[in-house]
């Protein structure tokens, strides 16, 4: 009888990668949830009366500009027994959700130029930190760019993936037919694997830009008299076309590689048998190759969908991120501390979390659909 002995060697071998992924993958995931659902910066309670113990009528975030509606002067007793004059301000402002907040706040919480004269101020301090909140998620969903970003991202997926899969299967079949120069074709077809999304976007800018190659071709064909401006705010559909082409051009190779791997696993005898029984090329493809290729296609579909939800640099290169927006660009825009961004990691984390959620949902959906089909076929 073989004695069971726990071999430690494999555990020691996987330990480094385990630790690495725990620190640089699992922890950031937890941190991401924290950012999206925990409020860390203080908020300022707005009171119904100019007194510390008054009721809270609303809250304001830091750095919000407020209008000063009214002010009262009070004497405040200091710890050493003396008194000093302090002001309470009745302020009015809108929260990020658009609700009106009006009430009293102490002067220490505001930055105000002149206590007696200024009619605007800015919230600079508050109280409390670390509490669960859905504010960021609500604010994300209510943001008008959120819907636009989601729609554009989904539209791109619906347009790109079918073209990509048909093209990838064709490319894989061409490679499988063992032409002379096969190795050269493989190299050429694989080149886009190493091309970054940013470079791919720029490549297609040379084609779609006003003085670009597409206009050159169209003019040489006599279809247009002068260059047409494809990439302009009025031509969103042309921007979509350019992004779709760039993504199909760049990201089809990965699908092709997965499909080729799948094709290689199909026994030759199956196809030969099909040919022997007089099945046409299309029939063999439809009834032998594609069904056997399903697991590979499923993996490729999940991978490509998840990647498609992150489409980013291509969009920035082609649209400048201004006319069209996608989910990943919104994440970047909220995070970016530069002049075009909002420097708000919480909102960025909310977007990132949403991308994760929707990617997972699609992955589960694909896995479910294929399984049910198999089960249905078995019955």
């Amino acid at each position: 009888m073989k004695r069971f002995r726990l071999n430690l060697a494999p555990y020691l071998l996987i330990l480094p990668s385990f630790i690495y992924l725990a620190v640089f993958f699992a922890w950031p995931m937890v941190r991401s949830l924290q950012l999206a659902f925990v409020r860390d910066s203080p908020i300022l309670p707005v009171l119904s009366e100019p007194e510390d113990k008054a009721d809270v009528v609303g809250h304001l975030e830091m750095q919000v500009d407020v209008a000063v509606v009214d002010r009262v002067k009070r004497d405040e007793v200091l710890p050493n027994g003396r008194t000093r004059p302090v002001y309470w301000f009745k302020i009015a402002s809108e929260t990020e959700d658009g609700d009106l907040v009006e009430g009293w706040v102490h002067q220490k919480n505001l930055f105000i130029k002149s206590r007696t004269e200024s009619d605007t101020a800015r919230v600079v301090s508050g109280e409390g930190a670390k509490e669960w909140t859905l504010d960021y998620v609500k604010r994300m969903v209510n943001d008008y760019r959120f819907r636009e970003a989601l729609q554009t991202t989904l539209l791109l997926i619906v347009l790109i993936l079918p073209i990509q899969f048909v093209l990838a299967i064709i490319m894989a079949l061409v490679l499988q037919s063992q032409l002379r120069g096969n190795s050269l074709f493989l190299y050429i077809y694989a080149i886009p694997l190493g091309i970054s999304d940013l470079a791919a976007g720029l490549v297609w800018v040379t084609i779609f830009t006003q003085r670009g190659y597409l206009n050159t071709f169209l003019q040489q064909l006599g279809l247009i008299d002068q260059p047409y401006i494809f990439l302009s705010a009025q031509n969103r559909h042309w921007m979509i076309v350019a992004i779709v082409l760039a993504e199909v051009w760049r990201a089809t190779s990965i699908v092709m590689v997965i499909v080729v791997s799948g094709l290689q696993a199909i026994p030759r005898e199956y196809l030969e048998a099909g040919e022997l029984f007089g099945a046409s090329l299309w029939q063999r493809l439809r009834h032998i190759t594609l069904p056997l290729l399903k697991p590979s296609l499923q993996v490729a579909l999940i991978l490509r969908t998840i990647l498609a939800f992150q489409v980013f640099a291509v969009v920035v290169a082609i649209t400048g991120g201004r006319v069209l927006t996608v989910l990943a660009y919104e994440t970047y825009r909220w995070y970016d501390p530069g002049d075009s961004g909002f420097n708000n990691p919480n909102m960025a984390a909310a977007y990132a979390g949403f991308i994760m959620l929707i990617s997972l949902a699609f992955a589960v959906f694909y896995l479910r659909t294929v399984r049910t089909q198999e089960e249905a076929a078995r019955e």
Binding site: L186, I188, L193, I195, F309, A313, A328
Partner: protein
């Protein structure tokens, strides 16, 4: 002539085969053009004169040929530093990722142990996770740890991104070396270490090198996380992305071409290993 001996049916069959063959060739070449033509066009722009870059209609080849546009791009402030940062990040990523992944890949391919499938599965899941999700919290964490805007912190991020792929690829490379080779070496008097160094390592080295090159390319190309993690020490793609809105066409074309050149070279070296790399994931 042998064809005279064929009956018409056979002749028709052969002709149809040849036609099919020609059709497949035409298709193959068409697809190759679809991929190569855009690269040729941006290459043309990158080596055209300034007036040709802005001119219309566009020319199909860089005549007159000039390196002015490329030089203009390279001499822009920050480009050389950005290129250096990108190379440093990619080399660090490659080294870290390969060093950490190799033992794990070996363990997965050679040992049967409790939790092996769970580990494999979680690696696959991690592999599929979007970098967009990881980048934001990591950037915040790095700020808290005082590691923000450092070249090495981008490399740490990229390693988290590439590690799962590298583990899977390395394990498939090890799996392609039969266990018997190792055992034979032990029979002939090698200890476990010698058997690994003298027999297994030489056989897996090309595959691991290919995976390392792929890691390099992935890191060289990555833009989203690099943009979030750096301000002054930007990598090349992050720098180009950041300057995109305020940059000239010359900058964009030359920059785009400059970024895709490594892919042309590196994919050539690893093309035979691509299916090793990705075949694994479908199993």
């Amino acid at each position: 002539m042998t064809t005279r001996a064929l009956d018409p049916v056979q002749r028709r069959a052969i002709r149809r085969r040849q036609l099919n063959r020609a059709g497949v060739y035409a298709l193959a070449i068409l697809i190759a053009l679809w991929i190569l033509l855009p690269i040729w066009l941006i290459g043309t722009m990158a080596f055209s004169t300034r007036s040709d870059v802005y001119g219309f209609p566009k020319q199909m080849a860089p005549i007159p040929f000039t390196t002015d546009t490329m030089q203009f791009f390279i001499n822009q402030p920050g480009i050389l530093d950005g290129t250096r940062n990108s190379i440093v990040v990619a080399v660090l990523t490659l080294a870290l990722s390969t060093l950490i992944a190799a033992p794990a890949g070996y363990a997965i391919s050679r040992y049967v142990f409790v939790g092996r499938d769970a580990f494999r599965l979680s690696i696959l899941a991690v592999r599929a996770f979007p970098i967009v999700i990881l980048a934001v919290p990591l950037a915040v964490t790095f700020i808290e740890w005082g590691m923000f805007d450092k070249v090495y912190s981008v490399a740490l991020m990229h390693t988290a991104l590439t590690l799962p792929t590298t583990i899977l690829v390395v394990s498939s490379v090890f799996a392609s070396v039969p266990r018997e080779f190792e055992e034979a070496a032990k029979v002939f008097g090698c200890n476990a270490y010698q058997a690994f160094m003298r027999v297994v390592l030489p056989l897996v080295l090309p595959g691991i090198a290919a995976s390392a090159i792929f890691t390099f390319v992935m890191s060289w190309n990555e833009v989203f996380a690099a943009t979030l993690l750096t301000i002054r020490n930007r990598t090349l793609p992050a720098l180009i992305l950041y300057q995109l809105n305020k940059s000239s066409l010359q900058f964009q074309y030359a920059g785009g071409f400059f970024m895709l050149v490594p892919s042309l070279i590196f994919i050539f070296f690893i093309r035979r290993y691509l299916f090793n790399m990705w075949g694994q994931i479908t199993k």
